[in-house]
């Protein structure tokens, strides 16, 4: 894996919590991300899927170093950025950008679109002010908006247009790697397709590498080369996008895929779903998923399954394989 741009090794992100016990000063610890390893090749898209609370956003934020990892390593083109100080990090911050889910709160309402797109360039001291304006003009066209739009404010745009502005902002400093954290979840179906198409075009044009975070499995399949399935901070399965859907191995992945409502009234899938009564629980030992798993055995309650190769290029963390 010599040409991997991003490599995550045994990443741990823990958060301190208010103590669960009354009158105890020992803080509780929430293991948001636990022992997660994967790598993303240059120019490819890696998808992270999972239910809310699975830690997918936390991983994205840890790679961008919005969170400091508790343990493990994050490598960017071979350099360990997980433990770097702010000063050393600055050149890497330019190479890594992000697009967030909520196009309403992620744009400053008091700035014009031009200010929003130029700000990252100012921070990284790129170009002269005149060149920045030129670049903003170019970028706004790239994302499918008009030059006149540069002088408008975010509230004058619809959700889809705002997301285009977010993408233009992310691209302004010519990044190599973009974390797309649920970039289309807040949009209409008809818009989702457009934004996905645009992200793919941009990837081809600029040779971008994406980490694509989403809870919508239907969408992830279209854009990703490889997908990792997360459950409560643990990676359950990693496989090529097509393989994951045609041949899911982990029972959790199977459950996720079978839960997607099929848009065909002749195929009623809802009745067949094994209504799992279990709830996500971080406190159980063994495999985190065992209380919701239809295949649960004694071993699953005791031993944590490790991620291993079940088929070439298809990793799964389950005792069955």
């Amino acid at each position: 894996m010599s040409n991997s741009l991003i490599e995550v090794k045994d990443l741990k992100v823990y958060f301190k919590q208010k103590s669960p016990k009354l009158l105890s000063f020992k803080p509780g610890i929430l293991k948001a991300v636990d022992q997660v390893s994967f790598s993303i090749e240059k120019g490819k898209t890696f998808g992270l899927v999972g239910e809310s609370g699975s830690g997918k956003s936390t991983i994205g934020k840890a790679i961008l170093r919005y969170h400091k990892p508790t343990g493990g390593g994050i490598f960017y083109g071979g350099a360990e950025i997980g433990a770097m100080g702010e000063k050393e990090l600055l050149p890497y911050r330019k190479k890594m950008q992000s697009v967030f889910q909520d196009p309403y709160s992620s744009l400053d309402p008091s700035h014009t679109v031009q200010d929003i797109i130029c700000e990252p360039m100012e921070i990284h001291k790129l170009y002269t002010p005149k060149e920045r304006k030129e670049r903003a003009k170019e970028l706004i066209r790239v994302v499918g908006l008009k030059e006149q739009d540069l002088l408008k404010y975010p509230h004058e745009f619809s959700g889809g247009q705002r997301q285009r502005i977010s993408i233009a902002r992310a691209l302004s400093v010519q990044p190599e790697f973009v974390v797309c954290d649920e970039p289309i979840s807040a949009l209409d179906v008809s818009l989702q397709a457009q934004i996905v198409q645009m992200l793919q075009d941009l990837q081809e044009k600029y040779g971008l590498t994406y980490l694509f975070i989403s809870h919508q499995l239907q969408v992830v399949q279209k854009i990703c080369d490889e997908i990792g399935v997360l459950y409560l901070g643990n990676l359950m399965e990693i496989a090529d996008a097509d393989k994951l859907y045609s041949n899911p191995l982990h029972p959790y992945t199977k459950m996720l895929i079978s839960s997607i409502p099929v848009p065909d009234p002749r195929v009623k899938t809802l009745d067949q779903i094994v209504t799992d009564t279990g709830v996500q629980s971080r406190s159980i030992g063994g495999c985190r998923f065992h209380n919701r798993c239809p295949w649960c055995e004694e071993r699953c309650r005791q031993e944590v399954p490790l991620l291993r190769e079940a088929e070439p290029g298809h990793l799964v963390a389950c005792h069955k394989y």
Binding site: D188, H215, S259, P261, V262, L270
Partner: protein, 319 residues
């Protein structure tokens, strides 16, 4: 079968500083007893405004400009606020997408539900509490006593939506309006909630109106569907007719643009915000079949088969 709820030629407008905006221009559909009725459309198509108008829950600058809403033969729009209050949350109940903001954050779930039940019936607090436990159990909450003591923020999204459903069910409604009830939830939880709605609908023989933009959800649950676009119901029919034999170009485009597992994402629907300007077909600017007749006047409804009506100039035989 007798029509339980009938919406006829509904027109709803919003009044702002910039003038009048017609959100709903012509919405009409009928719901039978025990129906599972879906309303689909993009955001801005008027689907939420239409259903909110049934209970007159629109914001203060929203005005119903015309039409009739017949519930059990009586026009709801002619009823006084006091009469409507009995229907609202009584015979017609509603649940919303954002369950966190729909629940009062300073009351526990139990507290709120007891209040709600005693508002509609004259029973003691103790009896009301027993009823709450029963309702929470019925919606599949495993520890109803704990849920009663919880504040809304202490519950997960799926649990909160279950509480919302339990609250709506407390009055044994004849109609339950569910406005995007699963949009904010994970797929696994979504499946559970939809399963629950189907079960409750069968058990209590109530009618459900489900508003959603997810056609997968519609296909899995609904019996009949209305497709809305730019303030008009452009097509109405059984779920099989809509999916397998869509008549309106908008419905066809909507179905083609759906992301599906194993399918392609190539075809997609261009969004056009100028939708429905003027008194013309709301899909005119985006329609690949649009011709001179479409630019001249608004099309009329025609029935392609029994109970399947389409608002389009193109007739079946022209396809």
């Amino acid at each position: 079968m007798e029509k339980l709820l009938e919406v006829k030629d509904l027109k709803v407008s919003f009044f702002t500083d910039l003038g009048e905006t017609q959100a709903v221009k012509d919405a009409g559909f009928a719901i039978e007893e025990g129906d599972f009725f879906g309303i689909v459309g993009e955001s801005g198509s008027g689907k939420s405004v239409t259903t909110k108008s049934i209970l007159r829950l629109g914001p203060s600058n929203c005005k119903i400009m015309g039409g009739e809403i017949l519930f059990q033969g009586e026009d709801i729009l002619k009823k006084s606020e006091a009469e409507l209050r009995e229907i609202r949350g009584g015979e017609i109940a509603m649940i919303f997408q954002d369950s966190l903001s729909a629940l009062n954050p300073v009351y526990t779930v139990g507290n709120k539900m007891v209040e709600l039940i005693r508002r509609h019936t004259s029973i003691t607090k103790k009896e009301a509490k027993a009823r709450v436990l029963e309702l929470l159990t019925a919606v599949g909450i495993t520890d109803p006593e704990k849920a009663m003591r919880s504040y809304p923020h202490e519950l997960s999204g799926g649990m909160r939506q279950r509480v919302m459903i339990a609250m709506a069910m407390s009055s044994n409604p004849k109609v339950l309006i569910a406005d995007e009830p699963t949009t904010a939830l994970d797929v696994t939880i979504q499946a559970q909630i939809l399963h629950l709605l189907l079960e409750l609908q069968k058990k209590n023989n109530m009618s459900i109106i489900l508003i959603t933009h997810d056609l997968g959800v519609v296909a899995q649950t609904c019996k009949r569907v209305a497709v809305m676009c730019g303030g008009y119901v452009v097509e109405e029919g059984t779920v099989e007719e809509i999916f397998l034999n869509p008549g309106h170009p908008y419905t066809q485009a909507l179905i083609a643009s759906m992301p599906r597992v194993g399918g392609t994402f190539e075809q997609f629907l261009e969004r056009d915000l100028s939708d429905g300007s003027g008194n013309l077909c709301p899909f005119l600017n985006r329609c690949k079949y649009a011709d001179k007749t479409c630019e001249a006047c608004l099309p009329k409804y025609y029935e392609s088969s029994e109970g399947h009506k389409i608002l389009c100039h193109r007739r079946e035989e022209e396809k």
